[in-house]
Symmetry: C2
Subunit: 579 residues, 2 copies
């Protein structure tokens, strides 16, 4: 049912017995992905506030590093929208303070994130990512997509927006709107319109002329390249530059030089948290994409190996003039749909980008930046996910509020605080719920040995016995609540002789809760009420036996609740006639 990846170098697994047929499929996928990656790489570099060529550099060596160390066969890594926005936010904060070079700070960010991911992978710390719940990640990506799309409005309008939150972007937009540059707006709006049509309508039109499946998909996915192919000559011929349209301009030709990023200790301290958050979000996105694709072909993703693969990719980005990369959703889906069988497709795509970096860059001089902005806007629209919000609202208030808090904080206070607020709110809401656990007074389901809530079922109870089921692990956050609840229920009953705490849902009892139980035991004993436990699980019983509690306990510990009730009725304290 499941496959285990080769741990040292997962690439060995698919390289063994690599076939001619696989090479043909991988080559075709590589071609499609290369065509798609060229505009994306340039666009996300600009989104991160970096020179366009860094986007190309981040799409060469990182792909090869992931191909060697990653556990997914079809994941395609490179610059992605959300990580680029987070890079802009992190580097902007340190570069605005002084003399730090913007580009080298972005490279350092990739290095820090890469090393953190590798360390987490080696330590098997992938579980850390589980503390970002799905609603929080979904909300975060939705909010980021909104910020990215709004931020690109500046480039589409030919004005400068510097904000990275909703209020500051709104302020910038309102003051700059009248400065919009007509020709830039025309280029931008035209590109957005064409790309939207390509994405949402083109497949229908192509199917009319008989084009379906892979060829149609290839045409649709190359729409951004088509826009470039039209607008670059147009821009050159009509002197867009002289007319005031912002162009990509000069991009150095050639491959990136290997170099270590400039390292300074104070800078590392400032970038450590953002690097960790970018790495974590990138990891979660990658694993999620990898799992989705892996399930379709019954290929397993190993999260710890994935940490090492992404760590290697980011480290490779850092030493070859790139910036933080991760597994992207749309490019991986394209890669998969185009028929990629192994990571050879990514290696070939890296070659394709390298060729582009050497031969294509002079042609990019005349490319209007608004075209790249249009690519970004159309790409991030698909990241906006209102479905999860609706689902959460219907299903569970805590999940809904976690999304709302994540989106609100991300929009109003930026990406880093957004992620942290998301984790904080989901963990906080979980803890709050467990600090006020559900409890039920239970009785016997007639004719069975099963005990259920007296408020929900028609059950048999005994006036001398209070059977309470506490539905939570007992720990410091609910120890005081436990005390209050038991005493409040006990106080309601006149002829009480026994309290039985039914513990099937008690998965642990920590020291604070143990002290609460001691207190309950003592106070009940003072009132001539015996305390018993039932259905205590093995690991919990093991721990209790290491404490003195069982020797203080006024009552007994019973294996089953029915056994407890039967035994206590038989002692004669309870009157069987009343049951």
């Amino acid at each position: 049912m499941l496959m285990k990846a080769d741990h040292a170098l997962p690439a060995l697994e698919w390289l063994r017995g690599y076939s001619r047929e696989s090479l043909i499929n991988d080559s075709l996928a590589a071609l499609v992905v290369t065509i798609m990656l060229i505009p994306q790489s340039l666009a996300y570099a600009l989104l991160a506030g970096l020179p366009a060529e860094m986007g190309l550099y981040a799409s060469i060596l990182p792909l090869i590093a992931y191909a060697l160390f990653g556990s997914s066969r079809t994941l395609s890594v490179g610059p992605v929208a959300v990580a680029s926005l987070m890079t802009a936010s992190a580097v902007g904060a340190v570069a605005s303070q002084g003399a730090v070079d913007y580009a080298s700070a972005a490279t350092l960010l990739a290095l820090l994130g890469g090393l953190m991911l590798i360390a987490m992978g080696l330590l098997k710390f992938g579980f850390v990512s589980h503390f970002l719940s799905h609603p929080v990640v979904s909300g975060f990506i939705t909010a980021s997509a909104i910020i990215i799309a709004l931020g690109q409005l500046g480039t589409l309008l030919g004005v400068t927006l510097t904000g990275a939150t909703l209020p500051s972007l709104g302020h910038d937009l309102s003051t700059q709107l009248l400065n919009a540059h007509g020709l830039t707006v025309a280029v931008g709006a035209g590109s957005v319109g064409f790309l939207l049509l390509a994405r949402y309508r083109l497949s229908d039109w192509l199917s009319v002329i008989g084009l379906r499946g892979r060829p149609a998909e290839l045409i649709i996915r190359s729409a951004p390249v088509l826009v470039m192919a039209v607008l670059i000559p147009l821009s050159a011929a009509m002197s867009f530059e002289a007319a005031g349209v912002s162009l990509i301009g000069h991009i150095p030709s050639g491959l990136p030089a290997f170099s270590a990023p400039h390292i300074s200790w104070p800078l590392i301290q400032e970038l450590a948290l953002p690097a960790f958050l970018i790495a974590l979000i990138g990891f979660i996105e990658s694993v999620s994409v990898g799992k989705t694709l892996g399930t379709k072909r019954r290929q397993r993703i190993d999260p710890d190996q994935e940490l090492i693969g992404l760590g290697a990719a980011n480290t490779a980005a850092a030493i070859s003039g790139g910036f933080p990369v991760t597994g992207g959703f749309s490019r991986s889906v394209v890669n998969f749909d185009a028929g990629a069988e192994t990571q050879m497709a990514s290696v070939l795509a890296a070659l394709g980008i390298a060729l582009a970096a050497v031969f294509l860059t002079p042609m990019l001089y005349f490319l209007p930046k608004a075209v790249l902005a249009a690519t970004i806007v159309v790409a991030v629209i698909s990241l906006i996910d209102f479905k999860t919000i609706t689902l959460a609202r219907r299903y569970r208030a805590a999940d809904f509020w976690a999304i709302v808090i994540t989106i609100t904080v991300t929009l109003l206070a930026g990406v880093e605080l957004g992620v942290l607020a998301g984790v904080g709110s989901s963990v906080g809401l979980h803890l709050y719920h467990t600090s006020r656990p559900h409890f039920a007074v239970v009785g016997q389901m007639p004719g069975s040995e099963h005990y259920r809530n007296v408020d929900r079922h028609d059950v048999v109870t005994d006036p001398h016995i209070l059977s309470m089921r506490i539905d939570e692990t007992l720990y410091f956050a609910n120890a005081a609540y436990l005390e209050d609840t038991v005493f409040a229920q006990a106080a309601l009953r006149e002829d009480l002789a026994h309290v039985i705490l039914m513990c099937p849902a008690v998965n642990a009892i920590d020291l604070s809760a143990l002290e609460a139980l001691e207190e309950i035991n003592t106070r009940l004993k003072e009132n001539d009420v015996a305390l018993h436990l039932s259905e205590v699980k093995g690991p919990v019983m093991d721990a209790l036996q290491r404490s003195d509690f069982l020797s203080h306990l006024s009552g007994e510990v019973f294996l089953s609740h029915h056994g407890a009730v039967t035994a206590l009725r038989a002692t004669g304290t309870a009157d069987p006639a009343q049951t």
Copy 2:
């Protein structure tokens, strides 16, 4: 069994029908407490880095405010050791930066803490304190006591120690040790020795001459005053000041003037977190003392009213030139043991301190500071609690590590980080445990309807049915683990037709876990295995019914696990002969 405090003004409850006998008892307790409070107040003001008279001011109005609004009959509030150390740390950090007046920052700290406590009380947010587990609080107080005792060594040796952490205190001590001032050492060591003898041996000696009970207790508790009564005249007569002994010096006579502390927004921002932590630790300490004493006389402490009482006390401290106060353990025990029946004892003690502030201060001029340091050292020694560490070590690793982390961080990095690390580590360890929940494959206990762990009990199982009990609330942190665990167990079984997840310990299923269940259902169905749930609790079932999961579920939801197994065996997929 339980008593409910009068909510608006708890004092009304005991003022009604206040008797002559109560007044006599309260007056005696007030006398004992006043004698004890005078040296303590002065000492803790110096520990907080403040002028001695602020200690007296913090022991007048706050006592009256608590008497009116607090819910404990015998709690005695005022400056305490740990809160004073935290005050020194917080105010030291802001005052060292520039022009902020040290004393007014301490007063602002009391105001912020007081207002926060009142707000929390009105909002019924007392539960926030539950996130500080007992082991963490115990470890924090132990580490604080060690820092306080070491810090007082400076005063006892007549040298200046500025550190507030173990490494910096160690460094200061090693460089200053040779500068120790002989006469100061003699006064300090003599005082410490006398106070230790009084605390640990005097009751034995007094019982030899027939003195026992309250009179003996009164003598023992007035030992610090006795030391003062001997050393003040000695210091004056022998010109200690000229010999280089550091004295208390001039203390202004009279009552504190009412005034609002100087308020500045940047200062509030810097002091907000420390104020919150001081208030929270103080609240926890107070409630713990109040509960201990309340239990002895069957008097109930209302935590939310307690927040308001302590908030009122701190606000009163702030407007009368004091600094953060809370309910102290030793003074409350003295008050209780001396026979206090109501908060009238505290009102009378406040009068006593007020008289001391007016008439006694000139006499304090010659008091060596080393005497007060000796009082502090002997007082905080009793706060060091190794018993909880030993207990935690035996009982549960997570509790033990929470204490170790709290103590280590408090000693090495100071009180604020210590509290935060304590909360962080206990919450983190709890989440880590719940992210890798215990699960059990269960079978039927022969002759019963009860199902238990196959590894712990001799139970009956069926090769076509996998019965798994997941021992945890299902939420984002363990959703991936749930998937992995179920698939791993299912993969071990050849002839599997049904998986039943037994859910008595599942107290909630969040959206992330619901998606994991959907995934489990889908993948099992692809392998012709049906997924069933059993013993799903009411609130969890309510939530599932609001989602689409139940319509996708390949199997059924059964009320009892026994019912599920019986029904599935009867379908014929399973062979009853094998069971």
